[in-house]
């Protein structure tokens, strides 16, 4: 089983990297961009023996307590078999 975790900055938290990226892609000629927000993406491979419910609980805890900082970031977890 594989878990995918997306960590994104909460709305309202300044993202100077996203702003710099937006500026660069605008220099490439893409003018219709209203905002770029940078995030993080994690792939976590789980051993086949792990029960799905336990895996979901474990990865959710990893996302909440390690991969994201709840003060500035949100997370979303997806699973694929």
């Amino acid at each position: 089983m594989k878990a995918k975790v997306y960590v994104t900055l909460k709305p309202g938290v300044l993202d100077p990297q996203g702003k710099a990226i937006q500026h660069s892609v605008e220099l490439l000629g893409f003018g219709d961009i209203s905002d770029v927000r940078q995030g993080k993406y994690f792939e976590i491979a789980l051993n086949d023996a792990v029960v799905e419910a336990e895996a979901q609980a474990a990865v959710t805890r990893m996302a909440a307590e390690v991969l994201s900082n709840p003060i500035i970031e949100d997370y979303r977890v997806e699973f694929e078999a």
Partner: protein, 233 residues
């Protein structure tokens, strides 16, 4: 009186802190490797600057899981003193010992320069030898020093007089031009509710020798030593 300087893989201001305690404060000090867990013989620990764990994931995020940090939590709950400088401040925030977070500087630059900070309160064990409202000339050296917190936390910090240092101009005025990194309300350092844990982004340990441009940082370490001495008396 005994001080400890915690060393993580990637710490690089540990020797500066050690030097200041041994030379300027004139007290015994040990390096404490991050895998150690016994802090029982120390009166105060310093979490120094640097790039613990290479700043992987987020600055300070992985250091929080080092064995010594559980001991630091217990140590702080016992009322003993913890000072986090730069990466040490980031680690204390990630560990939940101080509120808020430190994100990328607003202009994305790694900033390494002397700045002015105003002492917002002399009512901490780290600033009691300083004059409230006084201005210190101290260097900063960071890419993630932009302090953020929610409105509720900010209101609590203000109400309880827990903002310890703010970036200012040389006359002590708090202005946006004097804010090097975009920190909310120019915050450069804060303390916890019990006031025995302080974190700050500027490096007072690099401002203890006139030869290096400023010795304004010495009084922070003198305050620390005076507090420990008073507690022992």
């Amino acid at each position: 009186m005994k001080f400890g300087v915690i060393v993580f893989p990637g710490s690089n201001c540990d020797h500066d802190a050690y030097h200041v305690i041994s030379k300027h404060v004139g007290q015994p000090v040990d390096f404490i490797w991050h895998r150690e867990t016994d802090l029982s013989t120390y009166d105060a620990v310093i979490i120094p600057g640097g790039f613990s764990y290479g700043d992987y994931l987020r600055a300070g995020a992985l250091a929080r899981f080092s064995p010594v940090m559980n001991s630091v939590k217990k140590f702080s709950r016992s009322g003993r003193l913890v000072l986090g400088i730069c990466n040490g401040f980031q680690i204390l925030c990630e560990a939940g010992l101080l509120p808020g977070a430190l994100i990328r500087n607003r202009d994305l630059h790694f900033i390494c320069e002397h700045v002015y900070v105003r002492v917002e309160t002399s009512d901490t064990p780290f600033t009691n030898e300083l004059r409230g409202g006084g201005v210190l000339h101290i260097p900063i050296a960071h890419a993630e020093g932009n302090y953020v917190c929610d409105d509720l936390t900010l209101a609590e910090l203000k109400r309880d007089n827990r903002i310890v240092f703010r970036y200012c101009d040389k006359d002590g005025a708090i202005t946006d031009a004097a804010n090097p990194n975009g920190s909310r309300q120019n915050i450069a350092g804060i303390c916890n509710h019990e006031r025995n844990v302080v974190g700050l982004m500027p490096h007072p340990e690099r401002a203890c020798e006139d030869l290096l441009g400023s010795s304004d940082g010495r009084d922070i370490f003198r305050s620390l030593a005076a507090t420990v001495a008073a507690a022992a008396a």
